[in-house]
Amino acid sequence: MSVIQVQRKPLSLAERTYIPQILSGMKTTMKHIVAKPVTVNYPEERPEIPPGYRGVPTLVRDPHGREKCVSCQLCEFVCPPKAIRITPGEIPADSPNAHVEKGPREFEINMLRCIYCGLCQEVCPEEAIWLQNVYSSSGYTRAEMVNNKQKLYELGGTLPDTHLKWDKKKAAAEKH
């Protein structure tokens, strides 16, 4: 290959003074001094989480306080990293939700395994598992990083329900 000689152009007078370059740099600096900061003082300040954010998976209750999960184990099945572990159980006959028959006796999500993909939420036929706005979870041991049923319901809270399928079913049975 032949060598191409590049001619270096001599600097102009303005360039040699460096003043235009310094001014343009100062302009950027000044703009940012007066602009609103893009960072927050985490953890004292928390960012606003947009709707549809896929945070920590949680379990939710319906507006009447019934736990929506019926332990069908579809999320356990679909979970790619196998983070979910459910122990199914029967709802006792004296419970107000006895007509639902089945509920989780234990529900564990291992947050060390979870990849926040949201497939559990997508597959849930009862709309019981939701990836909500909790984005930070930490712990000192591996065991702390496994969210059990109680923790999942604490994180999840209550979500509105448009179907109330089980309430309708109970009403139909009572009408009968």
Partner: protein, 628 residues
């Protein structure tokens, strides 16, 4: 019944055409089965190959045509366009399950009319079906769920209220009924009536209010009640034991054998992560059709039973203790260690070798004959082997007995007898009595009481007992007699014998090991390990082969394959067989060597006692002689 077995002796084949393909099937085969032979699925709910045909679900509707024949001349009508015989297609659809193959029958299963019929039936079935799939145990193995995906609309046109029916009916101790899910196929009713002969189920009320129920004051409590759960095409009948325990799609299926009796019903063990959740029957038309007794389904509970024996002592130490007891009893004589077969025995594990050598008291005093066998110095050892052991285990027991010079009279195999129920629980409650006979462990029919052994212990002739998974207290040995002998016990669960034993080596259940059994028909069947061994237990075959090696015998490395290679060489009935080639449906062995034995089994499903079989064949011969 339409199963193609009735005409198996004289094949009377008829050719039918299904979706344009010809197939020859035995006369009497129905269209659903004929289509199955071609790999064409005709969906159905009420039809079951082992139950009478009722044709009430209408899901198997197909288009049907017969070759045209001229009414006057009785000559085939030829279609001029094709040059073949014309097919007269019936104007309406016919049910496949209730139509038997006739010569030239034409079937179409893929036409728009058939698809529309299936969609309509599915829609009607779903009208009153609850949306229970997330909580229904049948989900994942539900015919209705599958057909709803194939032929369902995806959304309901039904705006009225669905029927409300009882959802928690306990039909019997093991079966739960959810009436809302029932699609009224009547399989369970036909099963209890025709197979179990316990006619307690029936429908009451009419139309969509029809309800499955038990006869007042009765229960579905017979020993075959859980078969109704298996054949229920939806989740109406569920097993109380399996209810809400685990979804079926997580469970691994392993082919196994029901070991509760000599019937050897073929089973599938469903497990997940080393835990068994349920046992269901596996179809074998020669043994158990598609059924199995309820009692056999609960056997998996023995794996995690409270009285399961476990140990933390290393196996090498246990074997060493066993060996010192056995060789100590075999001969208080003298011989050098020089020609000990230990060195050449091929004991792979050096820890085992040192472990075996360390605590032994009089190991160096084992005399050997030139063949490397322990000399027949005394006969103070008796072996109590088990008809519950697998073929390979029994063979190794026999080898150990030979090695120790235990005479035939001191090998005992206790029998476990009960009442045969005429179906799938036989009088012999062990899975492998025939295996013990084949490999020479038992020389005659086992007896329930070991009176000879008791007498020998009382007489002081027997000092050491090697017991394989048998409770001697059950076999008539008193606690005083047990206290008189040193016992080496290999077994799965604690009992009086294990409590009295000097050395206890915990072993494994049939679910934890590969095994093979010979059932009452002399059918050799294989059962695979479904789960890993329970912690603190050891595979029987490994334990036995370690004992055998320590006594100077051949090393079988604890593998059924190695044991089988020798076993099939030495047993004429098993010639040419090896462990891995035992077919899934079993192999019937030659039983002429044992024709003189009066086995305790009475007639059952697919089994007739030898005496009755002979009478029958005699009668048939007389008939055939009388005919000309």
């Amino acid at each position: 019944m339409s199963a193609p077995t009735a005409t198996a002796a004289t094949p009377d084949l008829v050719t039918v055409n299904i979706d344009g393909r010809d197939i020859a099937v035995p006369r009497g085969t129905n269209v659903v089965e004929a289509a199955r032979l071609l790999g064409v699925n005709v969906p159905h709910y009420c039809y079951h190959p082992k139950l009478p045909v009722v044709g009430n679900c209408r899901m198997c509707l197909v288009e049907m045509g017969v070759p045209a024949v001229d009414r006057e001349t009785r000559q085939p009508v030829i279609d001029p366009a094709t040059g073949k015989q014309k097919i007269n297609w019936m104007p309406k659809l016919q049910i496949g399950c209730g139509t038997n193959a006739t010569p030239g029958l034409h079937i179409r299963t893929t036409t728009p009319a058939v698809r529309q019929a299936r969609e309509s039936v599915t829609e009607f079935l779903l009208v009153n079906h609850p949306l229970d799939c997330p909580i229904c145990d049948q989900a994942g193995e539900c015919d209705l769920q599958e057909q709803a995906i194939a032929y369902g609309r995806g959304c309901s046109r039904y705006i009225e209220d669905k029927n409300v029916k009882p959802k928690h009916t306990q039909l019997g101790p093991r079966v739960m009924l959810d009436d809302e899910r029932c699609i009224l196929c009547s399989r369970c009713i036909r099963f209890t009536k025709e197979i179990a002969k316990d006619d307690v189920l029936g429908f009451i009320d009419r139309g969509s209010h029809s309800t499955l129920t038990c006869y007042p004051g009765k229960q579905l409590s017979n020993n075959y009640s859980l078969n109704t759960v298996d054949i229920c095409p939806v989740g109406a009948l569920t097993s109380t034991d399996f209810r809400f325990k685990m979804r079926v799609w997580f469970l691994k299926q392993t082919n196994s054998i029901d070991t509760e009796s000599s019937v050897g019903a073929n089973t599938v063990v469903w497990s997940r992560e080393g835990q068994i959740y349920r046992i269901t029957p596996r179809r074998n038309d020669e043994v158990n059709d598609t059924w199995m007794p309820d009692s056999g389904r609960l056997l998996y509970k023995q794996v995690r039973a409270e009285n399961r024996l476990t140990t933390e002592t290393p196996l090498a130490d246990l074997i060493a203790q066993a060996k010192s007891l056995l060789t100590g009893a075999a001969a208080p004589g003298s011989s050098g260690m020089g020609d000990s077969p230990m060195g050449s025995g091929g004991m792979a594990d050096p820890a085992m070798r040192t472990g075996a050598a360390a605590p032994s008291t009089d190991e160096s005093s084992v005399p050997h004959n030139p063949h490397g066998r322990v000399a027949r110095a005394t006969q103070s050892i008796a072996l109590v082997a088990s008809a519950r052991s697998t073929m390979a285990e029994q063979y190794l027991c026999k080898k150990i007995a030979d090695q120790l010079g235990i005479p035939v009279g001191a090998i005992h195999v206790p029998a476990h007898l009960g009442q045969g129920d005429g179906l799938l629980v036989s009088a012999d409650r062990t899975p492998n009595t025939r295996g013990a006979l084949l490999c020479g462990l038992a020389t005659g029919l086992p007896k329930p009481q070991l009176t000879q052994l008791a007498a020998d212990i009382d007489a002081g002739k027997i000092k050491t007992l090697l017991v394989i998974n048998e409770d001697l207290a059950e076999a008539g040995i008193t606690p005083e007699q047990l206290a008189k002998v040193s016992i080496i016990y290999l077994g799965t669960h604690a009992n009086a014998t294990s409590a009295a034993a000097k050395v206890v080596i915990p072993t494994q259940t049939v679910f934890e090991k590969d095994s093979s059994f010979v059932n009452q028909q002399f059918r050799l069947q294989r059962s695979k390990a479904a789960i890993p061994g329970h912690p603190g237990t050891h595979n029987d075959l490994v334990v036995l082969s370690h004992i055998l090696v320590n006594l100077g015998g051949h090393d079988f490395a604890g593998s059924p394959i190695a044991a089988w290679s020798r076993l099939s060489e030495e047993t004429p009935e098993l010639a040419g067989l090896d462990y891995l080639t035992i077919p899934e449906t079993g192999r019937v062995l030659d039983s002429t060597r044992f024709a003189h034995l009066a086995f305790p089994e009475t007639e059952g499903l697919h089994y007739k006692p030898a005496a009755e079989r002979q009478e029958e064949s005699g009668a048939r011969m007389q008939e055939s002689e009388a005919r000309p």
